[in-house]
């Protein structure tokens, strides 16, 4: 399929996953990501080896993924904020067991049951390792339909290469919005490197054990450091960010996902008014694109962090810049979405004089 098609973000995730060779999906209904679960029900039924399971809970779904990933399949689940909280046990286990998996969080307003409006309140949970133990996951924050497609495709490859869960972190608006997308060809997964760790019966080889119980503290410590070495490799290799009109910016907005789309319009409007605003949009939320931030900071700009939360990513901005620049914040938690005009006002408010 090389022609452009118009699809909602949730459907794009599903189609991109199928084309990336995903053959196992388990999920549980929750708004605003239901279209994805429904899409996968249809898509998996069309595959010879596809499995779709509507699980009894988010916990069951993520644990089904663990089994299917152990067996070597490319696997995905999706949910929205409260459901992702339930999945955290499994995400910790996937991380400890070094199992590839793609997890989609279509964020909604919270905490608690919250609402079904778009939000970015789960940034900490996603980027800090929301479950127990000392681990991180790759977190990708798409900002357009096409980028959803591209990042879902990458997510499956990253998961296999780095033996880790990869989270696609978007919000209800990205999931619902329809945009034109060009999909890649179907991936022939028989061309992928063999998973020499999978368990499929010890036929003609020594038996394999996939486990996370490491009672010997020295063994557990070594395992943790092994994961850290992999995380360092990931940090080095896959940082991604978009820089928009940043080279001469005096105030650079930092935002991700749908917030960055809104901020981009505000930056354009500010430029029309002769205000030197720019946008730096993290695409990888973990690893955080600190190199791009430092590069932007070297141009002597101030920063305005805009999030649909009370301020979570701003901590990564501060850590990356380490006191080198002035950082302002604008945030709206709980579901309301700022307009480009709102962000334009914020740019004017914080623009250095």
């Amino acid at each position: 399929m090389t022609e452009k098609v118009l699809m909602s973000g949730n459907h794009v995730i599903g189609e991109a996953a199928v084309r990336a060779g995903c053959s196992f999906y388990a999920g549980y209904p929750i708004t605003p990501q239901n279209e994805l679960t429904e899409y996968m029900a249809g898509a998996m039924a069309k595959l010879d080896d596809g499995t779709f399971i509507q699980a009894e809970s988010e916990i069951a779904a993520i644990n089904m993924l663990i089994g299917a990933s152990m067996a070597g399949a490319r696997v995905m689940t999706s949910s929205s904020s409260p459901g992702i909280s339930l999945k955290q046990e499994g995400i910790s286990f996937l991380s400890a067991l070094e199992l590839p998996a793609v997890i989609v969080n279509c964020m909604r307003g919270g905490p608690g049951l919250g609402n079904i409006a778009p939000s970015q309140g789960d940034y900490f949970q996603a980027t800090r390792g929301g479950g127990h133990g000392d681990y991180r996951n790759i977190v990708l924050g798409p900002a357009s339909g096409q980028e959803i497609c591209d990042l879902v495709t990458k997510a499956f490859d990253y998961a296999d290469e780095y033996l880790t869960p990869v989270m696609i972190l978007l919000d209800g608006m990205m999931g619902q919005m329809m945009e034109p997308v060009v999909f890649p060809e179907y991936r022939d997964i028989s061309t992928l490197p063999e998973k020499t760790w999978k368990i499929d019966g010890a036929k003609g080889r020594p038996r394999r054990v996939i486990k996370s119980l490491l009672l010997d503290v020295n063994v557990e410590e070594a395992h943790n450091w092994k994961l850290v070495r992999r995380y360092e490799q990931i940090k080095d290799k896959i940082q991604m960010a978009e820089s928009y009109k940043t080279s001469d910016a005096k105030l650079t907005v930092i935002a991700y996902g749908i917030a960055a789309r809104i901020a981009k319009s505000a930056v354009d409007r500010a430029r029309e008014e002769g205000i030197k605003a720019g946008l730096l949009r993290p695409v990888t939320l973990w690893p955080f694109p600190e190199r791009s931030l430092r590069e932007a900071a070297s141009n002597n700009t101030e920063f305005l962090v805009y999030e649909m939360s009370t301020g979570q990513m701003i901590e990564d901005v501060r850590l990356s810049l380490n006191g080198s620049s002035r950082i302002h914040f604008h945030g709206r938690p709980g579901g309301p979405v700022s307009t480009p005009a709102d962000i334009y006002e914020q740019i004017k408010k914080y623009y250095p004089r």
């Binding site: 644990n63 368990i199 499929d200 019966g201 394999r208 996370s212």
Partner: protein
């Protein structure tokens, strides 16, 4: 000339069990390993051990093993089996794992008729964590969290999970056995073999509940523990076939 009449089964590794003296896990492990050998399925079997005393099953079963989080065995086994429908996937779970924290995963895997086998060890206690009340602890039975004995008003009643599962259309074969005497052990092995055979014949969900002594946490001798199972535990958890739908399939 000496003749070997009893030996370690082929698919039990040459390792020293960490289980306490008199514990039923060792016997049950042996039975499972013997069945795997007799059915010649070792190179296509995958074990999903629980969190609990049997978590270290991977040190003993000489086959592929994928460990599950506490209670999630049935969900992990579901994932494995759906991707690998021609492999033999079994979970080995205790009563706390299966009948408390993993009730939902267990019931729904059984209800979907997942073609997996479960070996369900019922010893009426949380062994690994030191003898707290389990969902299967008998009324009046003492545990570290029911020091005066299980009081139904405060602690609820023993949960008969196998009988509950038997009500589900997805379950094919459910039998409760014990490992308290040579006779009962032989019956237990027969049941375990049948449960695996049902999976090999692709009939659906099969489960064998094993009433298993835990002398350490029951604070009884191994002999008294077996006697206690026979005399008291079987009153709440009677042994025998609870459901067998294999002929109708």
């Amino acid at each position: 000339m000496t003749e070997t009449i009893f030996k370690r089964p082929k698919y039990l590794k040459d390792a020293v069990f960490h289980y306490c003296p008199g514990c039923g896990h060792g016997i049950t492990h042996r039975l499972v390993a013997e069945v795997i050998e007799e059915l010649d399925i070792a190179d296509r079997s995958i074990c999903v051990p629980p969190a609990g005393c049997a978590v270290l099953a991977y040190d003993y079963f000489d086959i592929d093993v994928g460990e599950a989080a506490h209670g999630r065995g049935a969900a992990v086994a579901t994932g494995l089996k759906r991707v690998l429908p021609d492999r033999i996937v079994f979970t080995y779970q205790g009563d706390g794992d299966m009948a408390a924290i993993g009730t939902a995963e267990t019931i729904h895997a059984a209800n979907r008729g997942e073609n997996i086998t479960t070996i369900f060890i019922n010893n009426g206690t949380y062994g690994m964590t030191g003898g707290q009340m389990a969902p299967t602890t008998l009324v009046g039975q003492k545990s570290t969290t029911t020091p005066g004995g299980r009081d139904t008003k405060r602690d609820g009643n023993p949960l008969r999970l196998s009988e509950m599962l038997a009500l589900l259309d997805g379950t094919i074969y459910i039998e409760r056995v014990s490992v308290t005497s040579p006779k009962n052990i032989r019956a237990a092995k027969k049941a375990i073999k049948k449960a695996f055979q049902i999976q090999m014949d692709r009939l659906g969900y099969s489960l064998v509940e094993v009433l298993s002594p835990c002398p350490t946490n029951w604070k009884m001798s191994p002999v008294d523990s077996c006697k206690w199972i026979d005399e008291y535990m079987t009153k709440t958890f009677p042994i025998g076939v609870i459901k067998d739908n294999s002929e109708n399939k």
